[in-house]
């Protein structure tokens, strides 16, 4: 580790992995509730467990992004972090606020939580992914501002590289577009329209800048390829991301009361959204093939390559599958969406966070790379989790195709619940794949505790 203050990333990475475990456990609960409808009912109804599942995902990815920034920005800027103390303070505030919010979801009915946190003063709750009480949302803004200030000052007073510049644009964008979470018009069409300014412009916009810069950093470090080459790739990838992704927001504006021209804008531009992801795959493989050194951390390279491939499949291919308006007319709001969501989040964001953790954690712990034994174990976890998510996606896709047919296309359409009964077998198989994912995650965590007797030094 070149700068002592990079070590604050360890707090963030540790919390990220801990919350990841919680996310998967609640995923297994809701997966089971799909087929055993009364499981944990009425103590933990589906809506509560799902909210915990999705909110933990968002929060742990944010912890991962922040940890990544605290690690790579000092190294890129060639100076210590502006304020390590502020970074630690914000860590505890974010963790405690996050934990209290999750406990609130689990311990009291959601409407009671809304009353306790005085939602009526500024109603923002009860919208998908943005379920947090308004006070928690304000806390997120405070943490985000302090974080952006801290890393921003570090960049301003240090070396400016394309990687830390792009990361800063992504992080500032993340903070800015979150502000739309506070805008909740009574008019449902307006509500839905602006909701996407947070949700879409995060995951199909500024988050991809964060993803690109983290990936570029890991590739520079592990392959030793000339920075000029990598930075050129990074620029062109994120250019394509925003050129396609901003107007691509239109693929959410087909059926919510917005004008019909969005069917054209949304279809054409979102059909091009796979391009930057494909370029990311080519980028990762080309850089590794042109590597000027063999970095001892093989598993970090594996995660980096995996990010490219799985982000292209999950976000690119599975997104394209249902993005054209005439297709989306039939698939909108079915298990096809769920299938896409699972592989896209895993392939793009989970894997890039695990890539930077895999690269940075050994260095923070005082070695260039983990022992061969630990790396092999981590590679097992890579394959277990990645193959499981592929199967989860395939099973949900099968469920979605059948659901669409039975409920919306057939001459004798079934009710929603009748169609759900028909496709239960796929939910069982998804749940089984989910258990394998959990095993992969347990192996991943065990890899951190392998003793370092045969430590490799590079």
């Amino acid at each position: 580790m070149e700068y002592q203050s990079q070590a604050v990333a360890k707090y963030y990475f540790t919390a990220a992995i801990g919350l990841f475990v919680g996310q998967i456990l609640f995923g297994l609960i809701i997966g089971l509730q799909y087929v055993v409808g009364d499981f944990l009912f009425p103590e933990i109804p589906f809506n509560v467990a799902r909210m915990v599942h999705t909110n933990l995902l968002i929060v742990w990815l944010l912890f991962g992004f922040m940890g990544a920034a605290y690690y790579l920005i000092p190294e890129e800027a060639e100076r210590e972090l502006y304020s390590p103390a502020l970074a630690i303070l914000m860590f505890w505030i974010f963790l405690v606020a996050g934990a209290l919010t999750i406990l609130g979801y689990l311990l009291v009915p959601y409407s009671t939580l809304a009353d306790l946190t005085m939602n009526e003063l500024w109603p923002t709750m009860g919208r998908e992914f943005l379920e947090q009480p308004t006070i928690t949302k304000l806390g997120i803004v405070v943490v985000a501002l302090a974080f952006v200030f801290n890393v921003g000052m570090t960049v301003l007073q240090g070396r400016k590289t394309v990687i830390n510049l792009v990361l800063m644009i992504g992080l500032v964008g993340l903070a800015v577009f979150f502000l739309f979470a506070f805008h909740n018009p009574s008019d449902l069409v307006q509500d839905k329209f602006w909701w996407w300014w947070t949700v879409h412009l995060w995951v199909e916009g500024v988050w991809e800048l964060i993803l690109g810069s983290i990936l570029a950093f890991v590739l520079i470090k592990t392959t030793g390829v000339d920075r000029e080459v990598i930075e050129k790739w990074l620029y062109i990838i994120i250019a394509m991301t925003l050129i396609t992704g901003i107007i691509g927001t239109g693929h959410h504006y087909y059926w919510i009361g917005t004008p019909e021209y969005w069917q054209w804008w949304g279809s054409i531009f979102s059909a091009m959204e796979p391009i930057p992801f494909f370029m990311m795959t080519v980028f990762a493989f080309t850089m590794v093939n042109k590597r000027k050194r063999d970095h001892p951390n093989k598993v970090a390279v594996l995660w980096a390559l995996g990010t490219g491939v799985m982000a292209f499949l999950g976000a690119g291919v599975w997104g394209f599958l249902h993005t054209l308006a005439p297709v989306n007319y039939f698939t909108h709001g079915t298990q096809i969406t769920a299938a896409h969501g699972h592989m896209a989040f895993y392939g793009a964001y989970v894997m890039v966070v695990l890539a930077i953790i895999s690269y940075a954690m050994p260095i923070i712990r005082g070695r260039a790379a983990n022992s061969n034994k630990a790396q092999v174990m981590e590679m097992w976890s890579f394959w277990l989790m990645t193959v499981s998510i592929v199967f989860i996606t395939l099973f949900l896709t099968a469920a979605g195709i059948l659901q669409t047919w039975l409920q919306r296309i057939s001459d004798t359409p079934m009710t929603f619940m009748a169609a759900q009964d028909q496709i239960a077998i796929f939910y069982w198989m998804r749940e089984f794949a989910g258990v394998v994912f959990l095993i992969g995650l347990i192996v991943y965590i065990m890899s951190f505790f392998v003793s370092e007797e045969d430590e490799m030094n590079a």
Binding site: I30, Q33, Y34, V36, G37, D38, F41, P42, P45, F46, N47, V48, R50, Y110, A114, P123, M125, G126, R127, E128, E131, V162, N184, S186, D187, L188, V189, Q190, K192, F193, E228, K232, W233, Y235, I236, A239, L242, I243, I246, I247, H252, Y253, W255, I256, G257, T258, P259, E260, W262, W265, F330, H332, Q407, R408, I409, P413, T415, M417, A419, Q420
Partner: protein, 144 residues
Amino acid sequence: MDEMFTKSMARNIFYGGTVFFFLLFLALTFDTMGVVPSRDNHENLTPTVIAGKTLWEENNCIGCHTLLGEGAYFAPELGNVYVRFGNSTEAIKGFIKSRPKDGIPGRRSMPQFNFTDEELEQLAQFLKYTSEINTSNWPPNIMG
């Protein structure tokens, strides 16, 4: 990549492309705000409907259901439930009111929320208002 294609060209495409397409997005957004009032059924956005939307949010209905296709995929689409239930707010209220407290053995069941009659009316009116939004003929059929 080709040596002729320099980093500064890539950078200019990024900044130029982002600014151009964001401005285009703003222009489309501005136009959308002008068109939406002719489609969003706002004339029926009564205090009762607005109270219904608040109830919808404060009970996290979106955590199981979809509304105009967005939400969770665990329970039926409710954007057209008013039509599916025979254009009847009474049927909606009756359904919500009759959910068993302890669920249905082995099956998915909506929780019993113990809404007052006034709250039931607000929710039902909100769902009626939603069903009258012009959604370009979505969902494809009555089943949602």
